[in-house]
């Protein structure tokens, strides 16, 4: 089977989420990549070095800047004329583009797969990860998004893919990029961090969240996450949210501070290797999944912990 993996990139660099998608695709067969964007020669060269990659299709055109689905999907559909499966990471861009491709190919998408069982059978999470479905597709071509935490990352070097330019399918004139507020990260990225410290509603407000959670995270070299309640209340921006409808993470250690453990939150972090929970309510559901729990007032515990570490 020939697969086409959509390469996610930003600021001229390949994003790690691509590497898990490559691993999933390699279980299906030959891996080809698509790098689409404006001024992406550098990304293409980087992509060609990914272990196990065959061809790298490069579409260099302003129409593909910012990964607008209206423009990128027709390009992918054209390339799918000679590929059997389209694979994208289940990132916000991947989730935006892949279903548009699927419908244009008249295919049901396999969203957020956890494993490749065979060429037509996959597992995927449903009901906030409370039910893992094994799904067999009857579609002739496959469209798949891949959960990043479920697959090893392919090695970033060792490969020697050939680079091939593809012609642009142009700007469809339906949409345009108007701007972004992308937070500058001073800490590791949530989806690739080894350690995460997350705060919940209990953190009261933005300044209290920062003053309590950030020093502990910095001590641990950790990324910072949050529950929906903390994000909704404006303590931290939306990209901190961990959960069913936020980011899916699986670090070595996840520290949940003042988070109750609603199923929607657990959906995003219960595959973490070790879970540590700090909560004043000893019956909080988070303790049902925590490996190590400490019952008490976080405003006493967290500063003391930060100090003693």
């Amino acid at each position: 089977m020939k697969t086409l993996v959509w390469v996610e990139h930003e600021g001229g660099a390949l994003k790690d989420a691509t590497l898990a998608a490559v691993t999933a695709a390699s279980k299906l067969g030959e891996v080809h990549l698509l790098v689409a964007g404006a001024g992406v020669a550098g990304v293409a060269a980087e992509a060609a070095k990914i272990a196990g990659v065959g061809k790298v299709h490069v579409a260099d055109d302003a129409a593909y800047d910012h990964a607008l689905a209206e423009n990128v999907a027709p390009l992918i559909v054209e390339l799918m004329g000679h590929h059997d499966a389209f694979v994208a990471p289940a990132t916000s861009n991947g989730k935006n583009i892949a279903p548009r491709v699927a419908a244009l190919l008249d295919v049901m998408q396999l969203s957020d797969i956890l494993s490749v069982e065979s060429a037509d059978t996959f597992t995927r999470p449903t009901y906030a990860g409370n039910a893992i479905a094994t799904v067999k597709t009857s579609d002739a071509k496959l469209v798949i998004t891949v959960r990043g935490t479920a697959f090893e990352k392919a090695a970033k070097d060792g490969g020697s893919g050939s680079i091939e330019a593809v012609s642009s399918t142009g700007d469809k004139g339906l949409s345009s990029f108007a701007g972004a507020e992308i937070a500058k990260l001073e800490r590791p990225e949530l989806t690739s961090a080894k350690v995460i410290v997350s705060g919940g509603r209990a953190l009261k407000d933005g300044p209290t969240f920062e003053a309590t959670i950030f020093p502990l995270a910095d001590k641990l070299g950790a990324a910072v996450g949050a529950s929906r309640a903390a994000v909704d209340a404006g303590y931290v921006p939306n990209d901190y949210q961990v959960g069913q409808t936020g980011k899916i993470v699986a670090p070595e250690v996840y520290v949940a501070v003042g988070i109750s453990g609603a199923i929607q939150h657990l959906a995003g972090m219960k595959d973490s290797k070790t879970i540590i929970a700090i909560n004043k309510d000893e019956d909080a559901p988070i303790f049902q999944v925590a490996d190590i729990g400490l019952v008490g007032d976080l405003f006493k515990i967290v500063p003391e912990l930060t100090e003693k570490l």
Partner: protein
Amino acid sequence: MKLLVPVKRVIDYNVKPRVKADGSGVDLSNVKMSMNPFDEIAVEEAIRLKEKGVATEIVAVSVGPAKAQETLRTALAMGADRAILIESDAEVEPLAVAKLLAKVAAEETPGMVILGKQAIDDDSNQTGQMLAALLGWSQGTFASKVEVSGDAVAVTREVDGGLETVNLKLPAIVTTDLRLNEPRYASLPNIMKAKSKPLAQKKPEDYGVDIAPRHTTLKVEEPPKRSAGIKVADVDELVAKMKALGVAA
């Protein structure tokens, strides 16, 4: 302009889903069912656009069993003007839902279709994007802000790194994220009024859409269970455990 709002009847988000012992699916008998939370946000957004004078009429659509009427009545009670039920007892996959919605859109010619970004049962996150593809329309997914001006709409989207704004040509597809708005509760008088609002009953055949599934679910399992671990007595003990894990020097 007219707005179309697809709403799905799903397990209530407060209920913990239980996998059936025979692995055939999730047990939905005697379980509280509600409108998909993201679709409530979609209905709310539509109502606000009508209140602002941007929209003139709101049509709610649901594909599902006869009981999905209740979900549509909820949308009507919140403020939708009329509803369409496309009745099917069989489960209808996102691709087929999108095809049905494309037919409804062709009949109704809305200026926007506002959907939820994701149904909390199948967690597919694909119907809106598919509908946009089938209609050849623009798409603003995971919206946290929607601003219509003239024949365009600016949609601010929740993306992995933060927020992004795109300008879309109308007609457009919008899918809602959690922070777009806070849905209102329907008042008792409005619930009463909703009972007499029009609700059309259709079947997939009426639209000539083949809803045969492409996917077969071979089995459904519970995820590997995590068992509760230990509780430590104080911070010193926690520090020792964290050092043992190698997360602290």
